[in-house]
Symmetry: C2
Subunit: 200 residues, 2 copies
């Protein structure tokens, strides 16, 4: 990423997330961030108190995007199976739109307070989705042989795996509305909910 | 892992894989391996020429296990959709049986010759499975809206995600036959092939 004349907290965050994803959070020093941003360390400290604050802001951007999905009408109204499908669709979309932030979140392992806080928030999200799965089972809309606990993990596994290979059309559009590749969203939803096999 | 009186190439490999997964391959030195194994560096060099040789042996153990699946009768006979389901089942089982080795393989990023070689072999495996998906589509056994390229990625994404949370019953049983959790295998196969939703 090239140096910029002026930095805002947002553009600095963007650079930091890219460096964290490239070098790993533990392997990144303020010196690395300073070099990547093309500004002095003291200029960085003008915006943030610490590397950990940058991590917290970055994973918050991912977590806030995911949490907001659960407040949307499609996640709150209707049968649980349809709400689950809606959440799957929107979670995949948020992952693609906030790709570097969600990628960073998915790599958090719990070595610092901020990481443990992020893991706790992620677990809370997972549990709310798992509750939807249980409710869908109770409403008779899941195939009876589905193990709800395993299904929740596999559903997230499939959604999160999109971060491994999806690359947005251009860096500038990363967080813009409307750039989500609907084919990817459709593929996740149809694979997880209808399965690949035509005849059973 | 505690020090042992005598080391074989296999037990040394087991220790090395655990350390690579813990510290990252790039972050592991021969000194780290010596400490973890409780033997001198010169004793390690008695078994292997380099850290990279340990990596090559470790990812080979994963890759050989996966490649062997494609040679089994269930992967070679019958309709493509059934062979694909068989390969999904067996690949998930190999992942669980050789968990630390496959985990290491999944983290390989291509920084060394050995890593690039491992990525090429992994890609070859992926392509053979993608070919099965294409053939299943040609035989009319995939739902017509399935995008074969995306479905292949999502199927692997789901299978590989098992490595994120699956923990074998005990360390000693890790590579033994018969310890595979069939419930996990069944959940992967039924989610990917039949989908979660009962009524469409």
């Amino acid at each position: 990423m090239s140096a910029r004349a002026t930095y805002t907290p947002e553009t600095l965050l963007e650079v930091a997330v890219a460096v964290f994803n490239e070098r790993g959070y533990d392997g990144t020093s303020m010196e690395h961030l300073s070099q990547a941003a093309g500004i002095s360390k003291s200029s960085i400290y003008h915006h943030v108190r610490s590397k950990e604050e940058l991590l917290r802001r970055a994973v918050s951007h991912a977590l806030d995007g995911l949490a907001a999905v659960l407040e949307e009408p499609g996640a709150r109204q209707g049968r649980a199976i349809d709400r689950l499908e809606y959440v799957t669709r929107r979670t995949t979309a948020v992952l693609m739109r906030r790709l570097p932030y969600v990628t960073l979140l998915l790599r958090v392992r719990g070595n610092t307070d901020t990481e443990r806080w992020a893991l706790a928030r992620r677990r809370e999200f997972d549990q709310r989705v798992a509750a939807l799965l249980r409710q869908a089972a109770a409403e008779g809309d899941l195939r009876p042989e589905v193990d709800v606990r395993l299904a929740a993990r596999l559903l997230f596994g499939m959604i999160n795996s999109v971060a491994e290979w999806y690359r947005p059309p251009s860096e500038e559009d990363q967080d813009a509305l409307g750039v989500v590749d609907e084919a990817v969203v459709d593929a996740v939803v149809s694979t997880a909910f209808a399965g690949l096999r035509l005849h059973r």
